[in-house]
């Protein structure tokens, strides 16, 4: 049979443990047996000592009383009582002490009379058969009991009993008389009475001894008998621990052939069942001898050891110890196996985890490598350690070019120091900084990005690296621009109706004034007044168109310092054009200048969207109103708690409110989501507020909406106030910049405009040559190139456009300055063309602005 290799060590450990247990158990058995034997020997020695001591005490008492009688002429009962009672009191093993005088036949009556006179009034010498008067034998003398102590009623029955009448005792009395030594014997007076252990000693007349010239029978005058209390002796030996004790008496020394052994005492043997016999283990015995005068007491002590006698506690403990060791061995083996198995499993698990982690890292690496966003990892000093391929794609740098370089290599310079300080403060505090910024492409162009920069900290919390995830926002910006443009066009569509109405009114005013001027042509004052009116109306129309064109212009985001008060006022004025007259509109703007950094077009679009929404909301209201307000807002606690990213201490707060239908409660947090609208199908795109939200984010601002359904809605926009900012002023002054005799080549296909401008500039010190298209202009420039100091071109013209013409002209004279004019907001010919000295103004433009541009262009090229 093949054994599982895992089980094999357990079997081995079990076998070793059991063998060890068996060995321990065997040792414990031997030890227990040895202990028992030692205890037996110790116990038997003690028992022998006890028996010997008790017998010796009885013997001593016998000797003492004998000595008393030897020492006194006469021992009266008081003296006998005192000595005997003292011995009895001290030695419980003595049952009684008797004095038996030797009474000759002829002394009997006198002795009996004496005893009767002494208080034993019924005293008579009698045999041991119930005190019969007549003895059953023919005595030569008597040994009647005279004194017996203790004098109990039972003992009192012995008083007067002649011990020679006890046939079993008579030989021993004889032996005691003849030997003069202590004789010990066991007698049974009758079958009804228990055996008695007696010690006898004869008393002789005077100081004589049996060895004198007189015979013992002549000398003997009494007998002292000590009866041993066998029950007391039994108590001594019954205390023994399972030891069988047999006490035998040898009346004469044992080695003599005629010695007859008499059993004195046997301890009760415990009945051992047959089953118990089977458990017999070992038998031990010992025999001790005690001399009593001429006799010898042998004590045989035996103990049969069986399994029951072994120290069960020791054996159990030994067995348990062995089993515990076995179990410990098995547990150790199992534990070792389990640990090995665990280590194996752990190794496998670690290998698996390593594989998984490797795979994860590979996936992560692949993900990082193939991510669309650029990922830059720099160390704590800002030195780039890693860039992914997307970085190269977005920023134009190969990885090798930027590794080891500072991240500042990407700085566009378009953000002020405060911007970077704020950014780094946030990052170094352990937070992630996220925001939009302009980075510089390898080719020098600016890349709009959205970047998240996170610090990486070690276990001690120290920043070791920075991870930047950079998203190219160029496409998104274009999409946003397109979206905003569409929003603008949507708004423009709304404006057209109102503008047409205003334009009609203004045209009517112009025509009316022209009519009045013509009618009063001969009255220069009236004509001048009417012309002034016409100019005022024209300026107003020009402003309106300019605003419209500015709004509809498809420009890129230009963040610049703006005076929010003027901007909101203009935006309100423009948006108001598209709002029905029955709606009460009001604009409350603080007189305090609030300068922000922002894009004017986007901000106008925000106001336009919010007011258009308000207009739609109040459509069904009886007394509708739309209120726009602007004030200076100092953030309160709730604001800072709600917007921890708030970077400014001062905000311009724009509020657009209405008393329209309001917003249901459940949709408050959805209103800024793209394509979410509460308007009817076809009335809203669902992108208006989304665009507003995006624009506010671009301006690092916040927007909040508060609304009560069917009651009111208000939008609060918070835009951070720029610190120490100066507002860019489009015009430094409003004066005409006069010419110094320079020659202008003016190219425009609009005849009336060309002629007007030619007339104006001719009147302020310039020589003006004009052409109606580019081709004509090129011809003229070829002809008078040396005379022409500056070329003013419309961008869009028939036959040849302004750009093409300018390109040719620049080829003819490379340092000639150009001023382009265009009425289309989408056009910016300077972005693509490498004109060295060119500027762009939008039509219609102020004569003052145009004169300034011409003057600036001429002065910039003059040596």
């Amino acid at each position: 049979m093949r054994i599982n290799p895992l089980i094999k060590p357990i079997y081995l450990a079990t076998a070793i443990g059991l063998l060890f247990s068996s060995a321990l158990l065997t040792l414990a058995c031997f030890n227990s047996i040895n202990t028992q034997e030692r205890q037996f020997l110790s116990e038997t020695a003690r028992l022998k000592e006890q028996v010997a001591l008790n017998i010796r005490k009885a013997h001593e008492t016998l000797d003492n009383i004998t000595s008393l009688f030897k020492a006194s002429e006469y021992v009266d009962s008081d003296e006998f009582d005192a000595l005997a009672e003292d011995a009895l009191h001290r030695h419980p093993v003595i049952d009684s002490v008797m004095f038996l005088p030797h009474i000759a036949l002829e002394e009997r009556r006198a002795f009996e009379a004496f005893m009767q006179d002494s208080g034993f009034v019924t005293y008579k010498i009698h045999g041991n058969h119930n005190g019969q008067e007549k003895l059953h034998y023919e005595p030569e003398y008597y040994f009647p009991v005279k004194y017996i102590i203790p004098l109990t009623p039972s003992h009192a029955t012995l008083i007067g009993e002649d011990f020679l009448s006890i046939s079993a005792l008579a030989p021993y009395i004889e032996q005691a008389i003849t030997s003069g030594r202590t004789i010990a014997t066991m007698i049974r007076k009758s079958t009804e009475e228990p055996p008695q252990f007696l010690m006898l000693k004869a008393l002789y007349a005077g100081n004589s001894s049996p060895n004198s010239k007189y015979s013992p029978h002549e000398l003997v005058n009494g007998m002292i008998i000590v009866r041993v209390n066998l029950n007391a002796l039994k108590k001594v030996i019954q205390n023994s621990n399972n030891i069988t004790i047999d006490i035998h008496l040898h009346p004469t020394p044992k080695d003599q052939p005629d010695a007859q052994e008499i059993s004195v005492l046997s301890s009760v043997k415990q009945q051992q069942s047959e089953a118990t016999e089977h458990w017999k283990l070992h038998s031990i015995n010992t025999e001790e001898a005690i001399d009593i005068g001429n006799s010898q007491l042998s004590i045989n002590m035996q103990k049969t050891l069986s399994w029951h006698d072994l120290d069960i506690t020791l054996l159990t403990l030994t067995l348990l110890t062995g089993l515990v060791i076995t179990v410990l061995l098995i547990m150790t083996v199992r534990s070792t196996q389990a640990r090995n198995r665990e280590l194996h499993e752990r190794n496998e698990m670690i290998a698996k985890q390593v594989q998984e982690k490797t795979r994860e890292l590979q996936q992560l690496s692949q993900a990082v490598e193939s991510a669309g966003e650029s990922i830059i990892i720099s160390n704590h000093e800002g030195l780039i350690e890693y860039v992914n391929p997307a970085f190269s794609k977005i920023m134009g740098y190969e990885a090798a070019e930027v590794i080891g370089q500072k991240t500042s290599i990407l700085k566009s310079g378009q953000h002020d120091q405060a911007f970077y300080t704020d950014m780094w403060n946030r990052i170094l505090s352990g937070d992630t900084w996220s925001g939009s910024l302009l980075d510089q492409h390898k080719n020098g162009s600016f890349i709009p990005t959205y970047m998240s920069i996170s610090p990486i900290q070690n276990e001690q919390g120290k920043i070791t690296h920075f991870v930047a995830i950079q998203q190219d926002m160029t496409e998104l910006k274009h999409a946003e621009q397109k979206f905003r443009q569409s929003q603008k066009m949507e708004s423009i569509g709304t404006l057209v109706g109102g503008i047409a109405h205003d334009f009609n009114n203004m045209m009517a005013a112009i025509l009316g004034n022209i009519f009045l001027a013509q009618k009063n042509i001969d009255q220069p004052d009236i004509v001048e007044e009417k012309l002034a009116n016409i100019k005022a109306v024209g300026d107003r129309a020009a402003d309106m168109v300019k605003q419209l064109l500015s709004f509809a212009r498809k420009d890129m985001l230009v963040m610049e310092n703006l005076d929010l008060t003027a901007l909101i006022q203009n935006a309100f004025d423009l948006a108001q054009v598209g709002i029905q007259e029955n709606i009460d509109t009001s604009c409350d703007i603080t007189s305090e200048p609030l300068i922000i950094q922002g894009d004017a077009t986007q901000l106008q679009q925000i106001i336009m969207n919010l007011m258009n929404n308000a207009r739609d909301a109040v459509e069904a209201k009886k007394s509708p109103y739309i209120k726009v307000s602007l004030d200076h807002y100092h953030p309160e606690a709730w604001f800072l708690a709600k917007y921890p990213e708030a970077v400014s201490r001062d905000y311009g707060r724009i509020t657009v409110s209405d008393n329209g239908c309001g917003l249901p409660k459940g949709i408050m947090d959805k209103v800024f989501e793209p394509f979410f609208t509460t308007k009817a199908v076809g009335k809203g795109t669902g992108l208006g507020l989304s665009m507003v939200y995006g624009s506010i984010q671009t301006h690092n601002g916040m927007i909040e909406v508060n609304s009560r359904e069917n009651i009111s809605t208000s939008f609060n926009i918070y835009l951070p106030i720029a610190q120490q900012a100066e507002v860019s002023s489009p015009l430094k002054n409003s004066e005409l910049e006069t010419g110094k005799g320079e020659t202008i080549l003016l190219v425009d296909d609009e005849d009336y405009l060309r002629e007007t401008i030619k007339e104006v500039f001719s009147s302020i010190g310039y020589t003006v040559i004009s052409a109606s298209n580019g081709e004509e202009a090129v011809g003229l420039f070829r002809a008078k190139a040396s005379d022409i100091d500056i070329v003013i071109l419309d961008v869009v013209m028939p036959v040849m456009g302004g750009i093409e013409a300018a390109t040719i002209i620049q080829g003819l004279k490379h340092d000639v300055p150009f001023v382009f004019m265009t009425g289309y907001s989408s056009q910016n010919p300077l972005e693509q063309q490498g004109f060295r000295n060119a500027s762009l103004i939008r039509k219609p433009s102020d004569i003052q602005l145009l004169s300034r541009e011409i003057r600036d262009a001429l002065e910039s090229t003059s040596p």
């Binding site: 208080g119 009034v121 019924t122 005293y123 119930n130 004098l151 009623p153 039972s154 029955t157 008083i159």
Partner: protein
């Protein structure tokens, strides 16, 4: 009073010439619950009663008499837990008339027949004289007597059913002491009341002392004056004064006796009566407890199966020793040290 735990009951019956013992349980048909309860109690106590032997103590005297009470104390010590002890007091110390003795003996006999004791313990002479000898000699009921003075002959002991202990004054130890310590004493006077028992006491003393070569002569008195005169005479005419009992001396006065002793005492004086130990230098007296203990031990042995006839009649063997330190100091007499150690010391 019944003690269920030990089966030991002490029930006293005083002399009641016309009295009779009452029922412990009175039948009352109106109270069946009480009867049921009593029966239950009876059933519960039956095994105890069945196995406890009954000993009837017949006292010649009365409860409160010092000698009697000593005997009772001795009996109670031995019988406790072994025998149910009942008592009958003949009260013949206070009623000395023979007729009374006979009458009370009949009552005792009736009580014995009624209570059926297992053994009788008869204390002092009158119990044997009036009750045991006439009615219980050789009867089936065993009798243990005690306290019989000097001899059992007047009552015909021994019987087949009786044994016991005599009450003999401890003269022998006194004589032994005098013989060993006061060898010059040759003549002594016995001073006692002129009553029969004191005559008998004198005879006993005379014999004992005579055996040791000391002559004793008596002075029997009838009253206190004679006792004082006798006392003074003894001081003048003898070497030893043996003071007998004072019972039977008219107008006995302890004060007078004390005064006489303190002023006249000059010779060695002894007595065998412990209540007279104030007036003698040495008193060796009987121990009543010994009588009670022996009688009780014999009763227990007989009840345990010992044949009463085999137990011999014996005399008392124990005594108390009193020494009167005041008188010994006055007479400048030294007693042996071992005697002084054993003695109870009294003074005047």
């Amino acid at each position: 009073m019944r003690n269920h735990g030990g089966g030991y009951t002490i029930r006293s019956v005083s002399a009641q010439p016309t009295g009779k013992t009452g029922n412990l349980l009175k039948m009352n048909h109106k109270r069946p619950i009480t009867i049921l309860f009593a029966l239950l109690l009876g059933l519960l106590s039956m095994p105890v009663a069945a196995c406890a032997a009954k000993c009837l103590y017949i006292s010649s005297y009365h409860k409160g008499y010092e000698w009697n009470d000593g005997i009772e104390r001795g009996m109670e010590n031995i019988l406790h837990g072994k025998c149910e002890l009942d008592r009958f007091y003949m009260d013949t110390k206070r009623h000395r008339e023979k007729e009374y003795g006979k009458e009370i003996a009949l009552q005792a006999k009736a009580y014995i027949e009624q209570s059926s004791p297992d053994i009788l313990i008869a204390a002092d002479d009158n119990a044997s004289r009036y009750l045991i000898q006439p009615y219980y000699k050789n009867s089936p009921i065993p009798v243990v007597f005690c306290g019989i003075n000097y001899t059992v002959k007047p009552y015909g002991y021994p019987y087949n059913n009786a044994t016991g202990m005599l009450e003999i004054s401890p003269i022998r130890p006194v004589v032994k002491l005098i013989k060993s310590q006061f060898r010059k004493i040759k003549h002594g006077i016995y001073l006692g009341p002129d009553v029969i028992s004191q005559h008998r006491e004198f005879e006993l003393n005379r014999e004992r002392y005579a055996s040791k070569g000391i002559r004793i002569t008596p002075i029997f008195v009838k009253n206190m004056g004679e006792w004082v005169a006798g006392y003074n005479k003894a001081q003048q005419n003898s070497d030893l004064l043996i003071i007998g009992n004072n019972g039977g001396i008219e107008n006995w006065s302890d004060k007078e006796a004390r005064k006489t002793v303190l002023t006249e005492q000059s010779i060695f004086s002894v007595t065998s009566y412990d209540w007279m130990n104030r007036y003698a230098m040495l008193a060796i007296t009987k121990v009543p407890e010994e009588q009670g203990e022996w009688a009780a031990k014999v009763a227990v042995a007989v009840l345990a199966g010992e044949r009463i006839k085999r137990i011999p009649i014996i005399a008392n063997r124990r005594w108390n020793i009193f020494t009167n330190t005041t008188l010994l100091n006055m007479g400048e007499i030294k007693l042996p040290r071992h005697l002084m150690l054993k003695a109870i010391k009294v003074s005047l």
